[in-house]
């Protein structure tokens, strides 16, 4: 967080634009039945040893679908839903955005387990882009068992996008779901990690929802693109965020310590913590 709060004000303004001024509406997509929290420990940069970071991720399981996203994103969405942001004045919206925790993973994975497919979506400025993919469910079962987080688990392995993964699932929770794009096992994945342990998801909470609650997602038109296009757009947003804003036709004046800066300059100055060791490795 240290390096970037010079730009926080500007970023907030833009986030505000993207979330509040564009009046994002939310809709209930399914009834919420179970809520799972995973702790994600990851290595943002494989060049530096041991500089791992942590974040919480949530999996909301409904009757037909499930939604996996960062806990920070979930909290922000919940705040908006609770306060009915679309009726709120923009100042309050800005307050929410300011207070909500920040995440380095701003994707939302919506899984349809029985159809064995999923949708990955992400907000880039005013667009919500998405792509479809098959559930990662090609598992090899192994006879090993282990008690993880109080559940008796069995081991399974798979390979996905350049990494070999180990999953520990439990039939005590007969839900064929799990973190990220993984699922399709005869029980919930309690722990999942790649062989180099760059990404580890560990279940820290499993709760059954007894009251009437729903899973909410932004009610907005998704622009479906190819997976490769999705990531090239994301990269562009990471690298030249301010220029993208400008291209949108929004002309903002950036000032750093009273000196006017161009959007290009702002992008160059932005030392945003881009993850150079992504979970999905580019094909060699």
């Amino acid at each position: 967080m240290k390096k970037c709060h010079l730009f926080t004000a500007v970023l907030l303004l833009i986030k505000f634009l993207q979330n509040a001024a564009l009046a994002q509406h939310y809709e209930a997509v399914d009834a919420l039945r179970y809520k799972v929290m995973y702790q994600l420990t990851y290595l943002p940069d494989s060049g530096t040893k041991e500089l791992t970071q942590q974040e919480y991720m949530t999996l909301q399981i409904g009757r037909d679908i499930s939604v996996f996203q960062s806990y920070a994103g979930y909290v922000k969405d919940s705040l908006f839903v609770a306060r009915k942001v679309w009726t709120m004045d923009s100042f309050n919206a800005l307050e929410i955005i300011k207070k909500a925790p920040k995440s380095k993973f701003n994707y939302v994975i919506r899984k349809d387990i029985s159809e064995r497919n999923l949708t990955v979506e992400s907000q880039i400025l005013k667009d919500r882009i998405a792509y479809k993919e098959a559930l990662v469910s090609d598992w090899v079962l192994l006879p090993d068992t282990l008690t993880v987080a109080g559940y008796l688990c069995q081991k399974a392995t798979t390979t996905y996008e350049g990494r070999d993964y180990v999953a520990w699932f439990t039939t005590e929770l007969p839900i064929a779901d799990g973190p990220y794009k993984f699922g399709g096992l005869p029980g919930l994945i309690v722990r999942l990690y790649d062989s180099r342990r760059h990404y580890t998801f560990s279940l820290v909470e499993f709760r059954a929802i007894k009251t009437n609650q729903a899973i909410y997602l932004p009610q907005e038109k998704r622009t479906y693109v190819a997976k490769s296009k999705f990531y090239s757009l994301k990269k562009e947003a990471d690298d030249s965020f301010h220029q993208m804003v400008q291209r949108m036709g929004i002309n903002l004046t950036y000032t750093v310590g009273g000196v006017e800066q161009s959007a290009q300059e702002m992008d160059r100055l932005r030392e945003d913590k881009v993850i150079t060791n992504p979970m999905e490795l580019p094909k060699k």
Binding site: L51, I113, I175, E205
Partner: protein
Amino acid sequence: MNLRSSFRLLILGLFCILCQRKAVAQTVLTGIVSDSAAVQTPLPGSTITIQLPENPAIIAFSTTSKEGKFRLSVQNSVDSLLIKVSQLGYETYQKKIPNRSQDFTILLREQAIALKEVVVIPDPIRKDGDTLSYQVGAFKTAADRTLSDVIKRLPGVSVEPGGRIMYQGKAINTYYIEGLDLLGGRYNLANENLPVGAVTEVQVIENHQPIRILDSLVASESAAINIKLKNALATTGSARIGGGASPMLWDVSATPLLLTRKLQMLVSYQTTNSGNDISRQLQVLTQDEPLHQADQSQKRQFQTPTKIGAVLPIPTPPFSSLRWLRNSAHVASVNLLRKLPGNFELRLNISYLNDWQQKFSQQRTTFLTASETISIEEQNRIRAHTHSAVTEFLVRKNEAQKYFTNRLIIRGRWNSEQGRLQLSNTPIFQQQQQRGWSLENDYANTWRMGRQLFTHQSYTSFLRNPQSLWVEPAHVTGFAVDSSRWRSLVQDVQMITFTSSNSLSFTKKYGQFYTLTPTLDATIQYQTLGSEGFLQDSMRQMNQALPDFFNDIRWFLTKIGGRMMVEYRKNNWRWTATLPLTNYQFSIRFPENQEQSVNRLSLEPALNLSYNFSSNWQMSTSARRSLRFGQTEDLQQGFLLRNYRTLQRRDTPLPVSDLIALTWSTRYRNVLTGLFANALVLEQLSTNNVLLTNELGNSGVIVRTALAYRNVSRFRWLQTQIGKHIAALKTQVSAGYEQNWLMVPQRINEVDQTLYSQAASPFFKASGTLTKWLDLEYTFKTNLIRNSVNTIALERGVQYQNTLRAGIYPVKQLYMGIVTDFYQNKLLAYQNRQHFSDVNIRYTLPNRKIDIAASLNNVFNTKELVYLSANALSYSATIFSLRPRQFLVNVSFPF
């Protein structure tokens, strides 16, 4: 089926052929899963698993399609299989089936099944960027009451006896409560009064830069602590009332803490005579922020102004004041922080202390000379009264774009001290008084102009420090007087210091990695020291002035300089270099128009280099040269009476020490394994233009003088510590070693000699929760003192200290604590063992959290304790008279 699994099948087939073995039969199981209700709707998404009987591992599985159908194959030669079908909200179907291909129609009965819910307890220590979060629940024991009880147990954190919190061997720089610095360093007020139950998390923010505008520009090596409360908007705190015997004891305190979004307030009133040193709660334990760090030593003067003449002090014993401090103290403190619009913070801290302390001891002091051994024995009884008030008013704006602060501190003190001493049957009476006041104003303003950061600082202070010392009989001072006529010697001292220091600096980041901070500095300082001595007769009526004790020093210092600070940060490297060039101009006037002027231009560079091997392991090293000048009290033509048997007259050029210090340190911490370690080595070489000389008389009278003679002294310090938190056993183990080595040339009784002084202290500590009803803590510490003069080794002293604390909880609300200390001393002729025990019993009223505590301190009524201390001239064994056995009952309640 994708290519990969086809390939796998092919390999399997080939393998079977090659082995020429009977191929394992493939069983294909198909079927449909539906609801058992009359309509029999198919159930998509049901899970079908196949296990071998009596083995929990699943060998094959499938889920039903939209139509509720499934198909799976099993390759195994066993006779029978176990099929299980499950679906959320339905009863699980299971059946043992023969191992052959078959088709099923499975009906599931609807049934609400509660799944096993789980909340994994968060890791006791979590790391998020630079912040380590300690879950208080994971570290606290049932005996803990206040926050300080648990803080000292956190791995990587240690608390000094005075209450200063150290993280990885370094003092913390800020203590926040819910992100706000309410107490301005007087954090014992919160630490010792906040109920542990009100706190959820203690966060350690590593490399914390308290000034936000400097964040990422100026690196910080120190950490800060932030206290997270259960309820961020709350009224909490604690109160205590108690009494006991003997003598008649009282112990009353109330410390409410109020937190709202805009306001934080902590008020405390405490009074006791139970030996609890509540005065230390008013001490500022943090160093000033980097912007205010100019003249740290100057500022310390204001907290405890120099005592020119003192009652012969008794070194304080190295353990809890409850055992030895005979006090009667009142402490009151009001701390208020208010957030104003525009991100301004207004803070007011007022504190008042009225403290009577008594100390009794018998001291055997051995002076270190090469030729002879002089030992004296003194019986010393001191009664000290500290009476002081401090008001601190602060306005601050601490933002990423702007930093502004102004702090005004006003102090007043009315201290007095009396000492009754017996030196081989001569009764000696000493009385010291120190009354005065001081004013300090500290201002800093940092703003951005273009890409640069400008900082203007101004520090102005005024200190009036008048004092007097009265010694009876006069002749014990070593000053020749007609003792038949004159009974006592009185010294009056007037000291005034005025300082004004201004600086302007700008900070700029060049490229991505460099930060440059050039600074211009100008300081003027005016000091006076005037002293008079006179003799009084037994009626205290006749006075005779002593011209030998007359001093009138007027000191004027102008310091003008510029310095350049460069900081470079890239990846895991960070280095800082400071290059100050300063011109010191001293003009010191003595009586009769005598004058000394010193004009010196000096370069005092400092280099600091640090490297992170990983996020867990850091190493840093630094080198620095600095000049240290003497003060007014180091420079005089007339005598100064420092204590009843020490006279001082240093008529030399202004003392200047040229110091070169090298340090090397490394820190390691692994949150996942709970392993913390650090090591530090310091080597300091000091070239002095003045040699301290001492004339030592037979009765221990010392006349301190000095000579203009170039000499070199050395100092080496080593400290290392390792600690581990074993989460599974709820145990912390730590061990460490500290050593210092000092070489000082001095002249005693006209003989040049070199003093070598060594002290080493290894320690070991383990604490843990062994069972639900037993906590144990064991500490072992050894102090080793060894001195030698030239090559003659003087006898060494060893002290072993063992402490065992046990906390027993026979039932939930009852706590029984037993503390046992065992000391063993070996020094010169002394060789003794001492043993103490304290017993505490506490009962907590159910639901109310009200504690009723009874304590019996010093069960064996041990009367005294022997311990060792040493300085450059002597070392002493002190037999300290302890508090007698006492019984105290307390009722305390958090609110």
